[in-house]
């Protein structure tokens, strides 16, 4: 059986989520094709062709695919599924947007945000904000799956698959893209960063968040995150939010500053390899998951940490 992976990209570059989803797909089949749906995305397709173990890359291009219009992606993928037994998509905001449509059109369940492939029809997925893990067996002939990319290792490079251009499909008549405002940043992207520095409500203001969190992140070459409390209070933009309702991250190092550790935040970061917490409240729940806890006011601790990092050659 062959399986299809839908690539995560921004038309300019291929995202690492794709490599991780390919790993999940390879647990189902050795015949893994990657679909790049976009606009002027030839470079993305070339990059996808280099993922080790990929059989073929399909490239479909149109304005609506480039804009990520869900109806257009569905119209493209559903007919392709005649040739595949499963389709796997990284569970990004984009993937979550179109994947359930494909499932509905194929009249099958979507198996959402899997973290483990047990066998060809059995998968593990978190429910209740990660407070429970559900093992489900699918009775459907075709599987539509979204993948929590942080739970899988990235497939390596070294492939040389062929890129085949295919027709872009019908598109959507009743949905029109108006515009988008993307936050430009020189920092690594939150969901794929090796180090994440996050700030919480204790920071008290947007100015303080920028003054304290951002220089530390830059010193560590880290992405910046925030708790929902900090985002709701307006200290940090929406897309910084780590947690059940924001992004799920699993970096090598997660540094939580002034974050108490609400269940909803822990759900988004507890799979990080090493967790550091700095909080002046020794009873804060964040310390229950932290590998290294420093009970201190961030106002003193962060400057000291900056100095200690400089002393350590950072």
């Amino acid at each position: 059986m062959a399986v299809l992976v839908i690539a995560d990209h921004d038309n300019a570059s291929l995202k690492d989520n794709t490599h991780k989803t390919v790993t999940a797909a390879q647990a189902l089949s050795s015949d893994v094709d990657v679909l790049v749906a976009g606009k002027n995305a030839g470079g993305v397709a070339e990059a996808a062709a280099k993922i080790a173990g990929v059989r073929k890359v399909l490239l479909a291009e149109s304005d609506q695919l480039g804009e990520g219009v869900a109806e257009a992606v569905e119209a493209l993928v559903v007919p392709l599924m005649a040739g595949y037994d499963a389709v796997l998509t990284p569970a990004t905001s984009q993937g979550k947007n179109f994947s359930p449509r494909i499932a509905a059109k194929l009249d099958v369940a979507q198996i959402s945000e899997i973290t483990e492939v047990v066998d060809g029809s059995t998968f593990v997925r978190p429910i209740y904000a990660g407070n429970a893990l559900e093992t489900v067996q699918s009775a459907d002939a075709k599987k539509v799956i979204t993948v929590r990319a942080t739970a899988f290792k990235a497939a390596g490079e070294g492939g040389s698959a062929a890129v085949e251009k295919i027709d872009a499909g019908a598109g959507a008549a009743k949905t029109r893209f108006v515009d988008q405002q993307l936050v430009k940043s020189a920092r690594p992207e939150l969901s794929g960063a090796k180090i994440v520095v996050s700030g919480g409500r204790a920071l008290g203001s947007a100015e303080e968040f920028q003054r304290v969190i951002e220089p530390l992140a830059d010193k560590l070459g880290a992405a910046v995150g925030a708790s929902r409390a900090a985002v709701d209070a307006g200290y940090a933009p929406n897309d910084y939010q780590v947690g059940q309702t924001g992004k799920v991250v699993a970096p090598e190092l997660y540094v939580a500053i002034g974050i108490s550790g609400a269940i909803q935040h822990l759900a988004g970061m507890k799979d990080s390899k090493v967790i550091v917490a700095i909080n002046k409240d020794a009873d804060a729940p964040i310390f229950q998951v932290a590998d290294y806890g420093l009970v201190a006011d961030y106002k003193n601790a962060v400057p000291e940490l900056m100095d200690a990092l400089t002393a350590a050659g950072k």
Partner: protein, 249 residues
């Protein structure tokens, strides 16, 4: 314009879910249940649309057990005009819910279906998109702003890395994200008034759609616990541990 708002009764947002010892699921006995937070946001937005004179009627619908009537009464107390319970003792999957809603949409003929982006129990984030695909109506998920202009809806969506705006021809499906609004608390007079508002109950089976589950839950388990770590005394100590012990710097 009629707005249909599907709402789900789930474990309360502030209650920690506990896995049953026989691994058959999450223990919901004697646990506080409430309206799913994203559904609450959808109800609030629909009520605001009516208050602005954009919507003429807000109909809340829930699919679930008899007690889901309480959830619908909450929606009525927030300002919905009437409610429908599609009663089911079975826990339905998103595809089945989408099919039931598709049948209800055919009866009710709303111009807008406004619903939460995901329920905090199953965390599927799928029903709205599935309903949109089944109906062939345009969709805008993860909405942080909705403007209705005549026969069109302009919706700002939260996407990875920022915001995107789409224009949809009505009728359409919109799913609510966290920052669309802050839902009101129902006042006591409104809670009293809600008791008199119409609430129809019918069996979900009477819609004649395929509700069969596609997934079999083999087990539900606790996630591996993270062992608590150590406390360090100083920032310098922390850096040295991260460098030499953890090897992450």
């Amino acid at each position: 314009m009629k707005v249909l708002v599907p709402v789900k009764r789930v474990i309360d947002y502030n209650v920690k879910a506990r896995v049953k010892s026989d691994q058959s699921g999450v223990d919901l006995a004697n646990v506080k249940m409430s309206m799913n937070p994203f559904c609450e946001i959808a109800v609030e937005e629909a009520v605001r649309l009516r208050e602005k004179g954009v919507a003429t009627e807000v109909v809340a619908v829930s699919i679930g057990v008899t007690q889901a009537q309480e959830t619908l009464r909450t929606a009525l107390a927030m300002g919905a005009d009437r409610a429908i319970l599609l009663q089911s003792d079975q826990d339905l999957e998103p595809l089945a819910v989408a099919k039931a809603l598709q049948a209800l949409v055919a009866e009710e003929q709303p111009q807008l279906v406004l619903m939460g982006k995901q329920a905090i129990d199953g965390d599927n984030n799928a029903t709205g998109q599935m309903l949109s695909a089944l109906l062939g109506w345009p969709q805008a998920t993860f909405a942080s702003k909705i403007e209705i202009e005549g026969s069109k809806a302009k919706v700002t969506r939260e996407v990875d890395g920022g915001l995107q705006t789409l224009e949809l021809d009505l009728p359409a499906i919109v799913t609510a994200d966290l920052r669309l609004n802050e839902p009101r608390y129902a006042s006591l007079p409104n809670i009293m008034k809600a008791k008199k508002k119409p609430l129809d109950v019918k069996e979900v089976g009477s819609l004649g759609v395929d509700l069969a589950p596609r997934l079999k839950v083999l087990k539900v388990t606790e996630p591996p616990k993270r062992a608590g770590g150590i406390k360090v005394e100083t920032a310098a100590d922390l850096v040295s541990k991260l460098k030499n012990e953890a090897g992450v710097l």
